[in-house]
Symmetry: C2
Subunit: 251 residues, 2 copies
């Protein structure tokens, strides 16, 4: 892609990029999809430039796919980052040499880039990164063990996590993240992992029940020593309705 | 500003602009601050270009001030709009002529502009537009009577209104929009105007009381025929706390 940009920099929107924060949940773990460009010591969010003939939402999906092999995720735009010095010195002389970019072409990279952030929450077992077609290393990394990232990518990641937590107060989550039948403690654990805090069992049960998106099944979880917990599934119609209208907790 | 841009278009971030949606509330009315460039028949949101040496948040405040004379508003970024054809034909040959822009300079204006949306909610009596230093007409227009706007500005306005309504579910509003002492029906009317729907009196009272941001005063509203309603004020400390932590309705 870099060679393509050098040859055709008029094909890309100048001074504008996209970065994607992909959160992956599975079995009580929250991870983030990160990449490492081979010449770099630091990890980064998967990102790239915007073809002048693509809507930005389309460009976000294309970029994510090119950098990680990941497809078919619904990406949500959450914020745009544009401090003047955010990419200062990122493409210094040494880096340009390593990347085989002639110095005079480097000016395109060295303008201030404003970057548009997109995020998604997926089941990380369902989404298989494929670095075969990229020159990057692609990995799911636990969100509590994210190493140093390039530029302001840590700030972008934190902001995305804030948005994800706010989203929990506005709409239901879990439909694609839990097995078809699950227990209340499993659902509570999902919320606790994303919010990074313990929730009171009774309050959680009351609130989640009030939303009305759960169907109590006539089954109990197997293989549990004693007091087997009830199984639930999502009431799909009601879930869709709440997604559309927001949680009952609104005005 | 246009002349400045023509002469110095390297001083501005190419292909990127900012548009501001300023909602003004007062006395049960919700208005939007709109401008009309003198040569144009259509109204638009106050917007402009981003100096390469300014952070985007700073640029937003500067642009709003230059276009409307309005100062000291806390602007919140809410979304970025970047469809490929959003500003197609906006600066056509005829417009360029009217604006005295030589056709070859027009190419700068005719690239695709991605625009970053900012919004704010203020008391419109406190914010006085000042078109003395601009070439534009600046007016507060009732949000239900907004005329046709240029480009995708109507879509940007609708999206901002959505965000404002979502905000009501996340944090308290009203501190700068109501008199120091107010009645519950006055507060309810503020919420109803922004949400554009009737709320149940008892439910509203229960929910707003549960948040704990109100102080009931030992006074009643004067000049009311009979059953004078109680006066309230905001408990400033508690209000600030809820602003920081979100409404109790979270998990």
């Amino acid at each position: 892609m870099l060679q393509d940009i050098i040859e055709n920099n008029k094909k890309y929107q100048p001074g504008l990029s996209i970065d994607c924060v992909i959160f992956g949940f599975h079995d009580n773990q929250l991870k983030v999809l990160l990449i490492k460009v081979k010449h770099s010591k630091k990890w980064s969010l998967p990102g790239g430039f915007i073809p002048v003939d693509q809507d930005i939402d389309t460009a976000a999906a294309t970029i994510l796919n090119h950098r990680t092999g990941v497809e078919g995720i619904f990406l949500r735009q959450f914020a745009t980052f544009g401090k003047t010095k955010r990419n200062e010195n990122h493409f210094d002389k040494e880096t340009l040499e390593k990347l085989n970019i002639p110095e005079e072409k480097g000016t395109w990279f060295n303008q201030r880039f404003v970057t548009i952030g997109y995020y998604a929450l997926v089941d990380f077992l369902q989404i298989v990164p494929d670095s075969a077609n990229t020159h990057d290393i692609v990995e799911w990394i636990d969100h509590k063990e994210v190493p140093e990232l390039i530029l302001d990518h840590k700030e972008i990641l934190e902001k995305a996590l804030d948005c994800l937590r706010t989203e929990l107060n506005l709409m239901p989550v879990g439909y694609t993240l839990l097995p078809e039948k699950f227990t209340i403690p499993e659902l509570q654990k999902l919320y606790e992992t994303i919010l990074d805090k313990k929730l009171d069992r009774r309050n959680f049960l009351r609130k989640i029940t009030n939303i009305g998106i759960l169907k109590k099944l006539d089954e109990k979880k197997n293989n549990v020593a004693h007091k087997a917990p009830n199984l639930y599934s999502f009431d799909k119609d009601k879930y869709e309705e709440v997604l559309k209208n927001g949680l009952n907790q609104g005005w």
